[in-house]
């Protein structure tokens, strides 16, 4: 959807501020929320596209003002309700009211953690599907504005680019974030010149490379 998260190209956010000697986590709760959310994946509760879809529903003002891991906390709270791991009452009270009811089940066992983190499941699919485009093709990113989750940002829609590389087959996030159906298709790195994206005042020699799915593009003759 055309949410606040889709911020590539927006102006007036100010300088990029880097913190000196920044710790990985600023507080213990950040580490905990991060770990629990990540564990949802090998525990089989959800996929990464669903996690992103939920994060994108944070109301705009809250999204912009939140500290980074506050967005993760929002997402985790919504996720445990959506997947019936906790009820609203359990979430609010912090009490295990249903005694492991709903979809609650043991998460990743401690002895599995290191293995799970060092051997993430590949997300590219080992299938032989025809590609819609070839390297070198000129393409037009679609003028699509779905209300559902998508990974084509606004700043490339309607712009012309060139296929640089075919990365193989992946599940389209647009459906994978919403319970399917599975839509396996090719993903390509597509290069757009900066002038194509931002107008004639942009530097002549610069470009943006972005990964687009078959469904995000049309052929340019």
């Amino acid at each position: 959807m055309n949410g606040i998260h889709d911020m590539g190209g927006m102006d007036n956010f100010g300088a990029v501020l880097a913190e000196e000697n920044e710790p990985v986590f600023h507080a213990d709760w950040e580490r905990q929320i991060f770990s629990i959310t990540i564990a949802m994946l090998p525990a089989g509760y959800c996929n990464i596209d669903e996690i992103r879809r939920i994060t994108e529903t944070i109301p705009p003002a809250r999204y912009l003002q939140a500290k980074y891991y506050e967005k993760w906390l929002y997402t985790l709270e919504k996720l445990v309700l959506e997947k019936d791991i906790l009820t609203e009452e359990e979430l609010a009270s912090g009490k295990n009211i249903r005694q492991e009811g709903g979809n609650a089940r043991p998460a990743v066992p401690r002895e599995m953690i290191e293995y799970a983190m060092s051997n993430p499941l590949p997300v590219n699919l080992d299938v032989d599907l025809p590609a819609k485009f070839q390297v070198g093709d000129r393409v037009l990113a679609k003028n699509m504005h779905p209300l559902h989750h998508t990974r084509i940002p606004r700043y490339v829609r309607g712009k012309r680019g060139t296929i640089e590389q075919d990365h193989g087959v992946f599940l389209l996030p647009d459906t994978n974030a919403h319970g399917g159906p599975d839509s396996p298709q090719h993903v390509y790195t597509v290069r757009f010149s900066s002038r194509e994206l931002w107008g004639e005042d942009a530097p002549r020699n610069d470009s943006v490379c972005i990964d687009l799915f078959d469904d995000y593009m049309e052929a340019l003759r």
């Binding site: 998260h5 102006d11 990029v16 530097p203 020699n205």
Partner: protein, 99 residues
């Protein structure tokens, strides 16, 4: 330069977790549109004849920059060269230079 304009995707498995600035609105919004301005803020001036390309990691591929080897480092071995490389150089907001 590498960014995730839509969220905060980053090559965790190789670089660890990203710095806060990488995940911030200013970086996510600005680097695809004005990479040279962002580089200036990081103290890097890129000549006009050098092509700057920003990679938006919006799908499941993850990217990092192989930093350019600095001139004057021809006699350095692998260990010495590795000591020169910084995390920021692998995101693309720093260049590698001799100490």
């Amino acid at each position: 330069m590498v960014v995730c304009t839509l969220c905060s995707c980053y090559p965790w498995a190789i670089l660890g977790l990203p710095p806060n600035w990488y995940k911030s609105s200013p970086y996510r919004a600005r680097v695809v549109r004005d990479p040279r301005g962002v580089l200036k803020e990081f103290g890097v001036e890129m000549p006009e004849d050098v092509e700057v390309c920003v990679w938006d990691s919006n799908a499941e591929l993850r990217y990092l920059v192989l930093p350019m080897r600095p001139s004057g480092s021809e006699n350095m071995n692998e260990e010495e060269l590795a000591a020169l490389v910084s995390r920021d150089a692998m995101i693309g907001t720093a260049v590698v230079s001799l100490p």
